[in-house]
Amino acid sequence: MNAELGILYAVGVAYLALLFFIAHATEKGWFPDALVRHPLVYALSLGVYATSWSFYGSVGFAGEQGYNFLTIYLGVTLAFALAPVLLAPILRLVRDYQLTSLADLFAFRYRHQFTGVLVTLFMLAGVLPYIALQIKAVTESVAVLTQEAPPHLLALGFCATLSLFAILFGARHITPREKHEGLVMAIAFESAVKLIALLMVGVFALFGIFGGPAALGEWLLEHPEAIEALYAPVREGPWMTFMLLAFAAAFLLPRQFHMIFVENMEPRALRVAAWAFPLFLLLLNLPIPLILWAGQQAQVATVPDYYVLGLSVEHGYGWAVFTFIGGVSAASAMMIVTTLALAAMCLNHLILPARYQNQALPRRNLYTWLLWGRRILIVLIIALGYVFYRLMEFHQSLAQIGLISFVAVAQFLPGLMGLLFWPRATRWGFIAGLAGGITVWALALIVPLLQQSGLMPGQLELQAWFRATEQNHWAFATFWSLAVNAVLFVAGSLLTRPSPEETEAALACRREQMEPPRGQLEVRSVQHFEEQLAQTVGPQTAALEVSRALADLGLKSDETHPGELRRLRERLERNLSGLMGPLLSRMIVDHRLRVDPHTQMALAESLRYVEEQLEHSNVRLQGLAAELDTLRRYHRQVLHELPLGVCSLTPGGEIIIWNSAMGLISGIPSRDAVGQELRLLGDPWHGILRGFLQGDDKHLYKLQINLQGRSRWINLHKSEIEAPGALNPGAVVGGTVILVEDLTELHTLESEVAHNNRLASIGRLAAGVAHEIGNPLTGIASLAQNLHYEPDESERELSAQQILEQTRRINNIVQSLITFSHTGEVPSTAMGAVDIKICVDEAMQLVQLSDTARKHLFENRLPPGITVRGSHQKLLQVFVNLINNAMQASGPGDRIRIQGETAAGFAEILVEDEGTGIPESLLDRVFEPFFTTKPPGEGTGLGLSVVYSIIQDHGGAVYVDNLPQGGACFTLRLPLSTAPGTTPRLRASG
């Protein structure tokens, strides 16, 4: 190695070290996140597409094929124009199912071990010429600079150095599947370097060789054949073929697939890349005609493939070295990213399946095993590229070698179209099509290469059989390989039936999957998950994977909810797919985390699954289906927003619906309740709802419950649901819907109203009270005065007794007032037997304190001994209100009569008056709050509504009707204290 070569090698290694530093700095967080995750950085990283073929070979390609060289980039532009319909769905699949390569993608869709193996082997074979091309470009560029034939050791040294850097870039971490932000940043930097280098050569060609745009214009006028040489091949050459090949290569080449989909950190960045990446390619290609013409004008002593370098040498050695760096940059980026992508494919589809024996993988430390596997594969793939480079004697230009790989990756187009747009496609169709395409590709392109290199004897002239000329060589190879591929793919798919796994995968690819998965998980806890997985991947890996999946889903390690465990299983499968490919991951999960196919998935989970699928489905519902979906969303929203707690349960006690109001009332969010069994809710709700479900009552009113030390009042209503149709055959549907009304605020308001009503009554009674108390006081005063003059002992004794009698009378009045005006809730435990006759007597006594009462006659005809269970104070208020109401409707001298009897465990009490009665049209409204027939300001309209509320609280009923002879009759039905079924009402605590 001479000194100049040594310098170039050192510069190349230093540049790679700089790239590595950028990657390292990115991973260490030394660059701001806004820069690292900027969409333009992602778009620039896609510039890995432009390899040394683009950097050096485009000029030679333009020399041979004129503007046909642009097709390699225009095809990419068209592919990116389709980003929302072509690239975005692939990106979604790759992200959702953690796929790491094209082989993973195809193995996921066309579920068969052989699919992954075939794709991997073919990709390896198809890309080897491309890797060899990079080695060739770098060594030949060194030859251009040193003017000497490069030693073979140089190519070997370049490969060894790149192997090291590829490992450093992509296989340094213990978890090989994580995204490489550093790699993306380094490749973006590398793209910027090669763009700047090429633009600088273009600027030099324009100003250094031609002397500026005006001089170039004159030169072109003098040499019109220069422009015609660019346009003529477009009219005659394989323009369309190259466009198609570039369209496929844009996202199917391993390095492109890796950078576009696997390393994507933000899906929205793809939208920016859709225009920014083609713009990068346009700028990169803008100087190519200039460099070609400048090379011809300056008669640079190299082949056109290396005019870029030859012109730089003309400008100065320093410039040439910088341009050389641009070339190294292009070649190394391609080789690093390609080997990383191929290593992942080989590991997932060749090595791991072979190592997966007895349903177990290396258990000691799977991560380390995978990491070293990847490292060894990187070295092996670059070594294979080197062997290919050494064995082949390339007589073709750089572009022609690259096109061999382009035709190879185009063979994946039919399979990919099937994956995205044809659910009927089968794995056997895919395998047959790909095998057919590979065969034609090999016969048309590889065999001639081997024959030219002397590695294969004979002369196979496939083209001659089809009368193809040299001119349409690429069109011939592309057309026939793709035609055979597509025909076999379609025929094979139509002649075979997709397996259930394929159908499931096809629907997942189209986001059409609606049918919920069958069966219930056999594992019932997170701990059990770990134990099961450990048997295949080892305890350390199992623990890490389970905790990672839990963190991804935001679940806790004590999770036991069947639906959440099902999600955990899905997440584990996806995460393991990122580690070892979709097939092996599915096999491990199916084997270790079994689902019992004979059981049904919980209905709530089925509903949730279908709803999620509808939300994210790719299929746009149309016509009636769209209308039904809108209606479904509307109904769901109504249920969710209803200001009434709604809870529906299956006959087995599984909660299906738990709306937001229910969440507010119960304090249990919908997320925690839906899918749970009722018994797992805990008390008080489990007790309340189960008790209500088991009872005969369809309604339960004013149920007092204790939640976190606070009393709440609720109404419960229930109704049976008829089965609307099964989501999955045999599923149990139907059940019960329960409505829960929170009455706490209303109850508080009613209590306040009742209290105010009592105070108002006391106010009205005040004058009467003064009179009633004043009379005995006068009597007491007279008796006390006379007492001093009373000589007779017996007379004094009599006066003292009369004083005591008057005092008792006052005391009775005061006690009645105190009882009546008592505030606060009467707990159900304070309720007891109330003698109705005594209660009515007391009410009459109170009412008679008012002036107006003196105009009426009161009759208490109740038989003694009727006792009901209730609150004496509240029932006292009932009778005060009813008597007051009767007095207001009656004229002077009218009777107010209270009578009653007992029947069937109830006391029936009638309060009758001889007043005007109630108009028929108002009979239904008299118990409404604030309803009154009096003029404004004369009545609150609360008296009868308070009566209604209190009687309801006592489990009774109140009716009103008019009497035939005139007047109104209020009938109260109250449960007797001794009657069965009058136990205190359901009372819960919590």
């Binding site: 532009t77 319909v85 346009y231 323009w239 939208r271 713009l279 803008l286």
Partner: protein, 53 residues
């Protein structure tokens, strides 16, 4: 979606149809293909930007 497909068809019209023979006819300016390419990129950016909003 519809705009994307229209854009793709426009790209096909520019670069994969007999229109190619028109712009590649003798006498065309050497920058013409780049101009058409830039036009397509501009339209992609426009459609993408509107979609983003």
């Amino acid at each position: 979606m519809d705009k994307t497909l229209l854009l793709f068809l426009f790209g096909l019209l520019l670069f994969a149809s007999p229109l190619v023979a028109w712009w590649a006819s003798p006498g065309s300016h050497w920058l013409l293909p780049y101009g058409l390419w830039a036009l397509l990129i501009g339209l992609i950016a426009l459609v993408t930007h509107r979609h983003e909003r």
